[in-house]
């Protein structure tokens, strides 16, 4: 890098607005889809694991192993299958990471439902499906939401590693900055990734508040006391 290079060259940002936007959108898609897929998969898996305890050990063992693997390695391994610089190559491993966080979240969330509540619902004549949808899942929302926040924030930032295989959303800015040896794209990229993550996190918190009005009452009581 040239010694007199300023940290941010605003004109560069201006000139490359459309590219930055394109990368941002790509990052959003590749960051959120894994969480969505992960949730859709984690719900049935988590349900099965909480119903049949014997499944949970091997399932969480497998998920822990997957979680331990570096993302770059997983991207590489998928290339022969889904191709280089393809969205799927990034989305599949990120979905697995999301699963590793969300399955325990679903299980813990369902476990957090007090036993007496579940039994009261059964005694009142709720069918198992109704009980799940109207009683257990709503109560599990806070725990599951916490898991979703973790999965979303780390997912959005992990997407950038995909730049090394040609598809990394805002990560492309990091590669550009490194190759051209000036910091502006990098700083823009980092700032945007963090902003994106914080915004997504904030929206999830908001969604959580809307979904659990009963918890709001307790929150307010807690703040008043």
């Amino acid at each position: 890098m040239r010694p007199d290079e300023p940290l941010i060259r605003w004109d560069w940002i201006g000139r490359n607005r459309s590219m930055i936007l394109e990368l941002l959108v790509d990052n959003i898609v590749m960051g959120l889809l894994p969480v969505l897929f992960g949730l859709l998969l984690a719900l049935p898996i988590g349900l099965a694991c909480s119903r049949w305890r014997v499944l949970y050990q091997p399932a969480s063992g497998l998920l822990n192993v997957v979680y331990a693997l570096p993302s770059l390695a997983l991207f590489i391994v998928l290339i022969p299958v889904t191709g280089l610089a393809e969205r799927a190559t990034v989305i599949i491993p990120l979905t697995c990471y999301a699963l590793a966080v969300l399955v325990p979240a679903v299980v813990d969330g369902l476990r957090s439902v007090p036993d007496h509540v579940r039994q009261a619902a059964e005694a009142m004549g709720f069918t198992p499906l109704r009980r799940l949808v109207q009683v257990e899942l709503p109560i599990a929302v806070p725990v599951v939401l916490a898991g979703m926040r973790v999965a979303t924030v780390s997912g959005i930032s992990l997407v950038s590693v995909g730049a090394l295989i040609g598809r990394g959303g805002l990560g492309g800015l990091f590669v550009t900055g490194w190759q051209l040896r000036f910091p502006t794209p990098i700083i823009v990229g980092v700032v945007l990734v963090v902003l994106l993550a914080v915004t997504a996190d904030g929206l999830l918190v908001l969604a959580g508040r809307l979904l659990t009005p009963w918890a709001r009452a307790r929150r307010e009581a807690g703040e008043a006391a």
Partner: protein
């Protein structure tokens, strides 16, 4: 699969300063160093924050902030600003390893049953004795979990750091991608996966051994 045979079968890949054993040693060495430094900083801070209750919000905030930071971006930025060399790479490696250790250690210490603390103080243990003899052993599962998560983070970050010039197993991946030598890339990825699995297994083993059976409730009979 023949790609793997191509890569691991070639004796040239096993010898010399760019061979598999050297790269593996580099990678493992760097990770161990980074993890050690991170633990040196984060464990005492976490113990203190959890024990005194001060700075807990800061700890939580740090953990959340670190999760949002893109590793590649951080590496590239630091290396660009600091110049060439292996030492600058340590900075983001350690920085990203600190939050999991910090937050889990803090949570572990804070989560100790208050009744237990009451009994400990009531028996006449002093503050530091309560921290070392009671809170830490009981918090050990979470502390070790934090170390395991940090180790995973470091192995992954070091892999990506090959892009900015670090040695280690990531080199096979990056060099392979640059020269379109897919066997090398895949070979590197496989090695990284194996290392990560080994690290995971090692830490799980340590957890089993180090945590008192009275805390993990893992005793037969009873």
């Amino acid at each position: 699969m023949s790609w793997l045979a191509d890569f691991f079968g070639d004796p040239a890949n096993w010898a010399g300063p760019y061979g598999i054993p050297v790269r593996l040693a580099e990678h493992a060495g760097f990770c161990a160093l980074a993890l050690g430094l991170a633990a040196l900083v984060a464990v005492p801070l976490g113990l203190l924050a959890g024990h005194t209750g001060r700075g807990v919000h800061l700890v939580t905030f740090t953990a959340n902030a670190a999760r949002a930071l893109p590793t590649l971006g951080l590496l590239v930025l630091v290396m660009l600003l600091a110049g060439v060399g292996t030492l600058p790479v340590l900075v983001p490696l350690v920085a990203l390893a600190v939050p999991p250790i910090l937050v889990n250690t803090c949570e572990g210490v804070r989560g100790v049953d208050p009744d237990l603390l009451d009994a400990a103080y009531g028996m006449g243990l002093r503050g530091h004795q309560v921290l070392l003899r009671v809170r830490t052993p009981v918090a050990l599962p979470l502390i070790l979990l934090g170390l395991r998560l940090a180790a995973i983070q470091v192995v992954a970050t070091a892999t990506v750091a090959a892009y900015v010039g670090l040695g280690g197993l990531g080199r096979f991946i990056i060099d392979g991608l640059a020269t379109r030598d897919y066997p090398q890339t895949l070979g590197g990825a496989t090695l990284v996966v194996l290392l990560a699995l080994a690290v995971q297994a090692a830490f799980t083993g340590v957890e089993r051994v180090a945590v008192s059976k009275g805390v993990s409730r893992r005793v037969r009979g009873g």
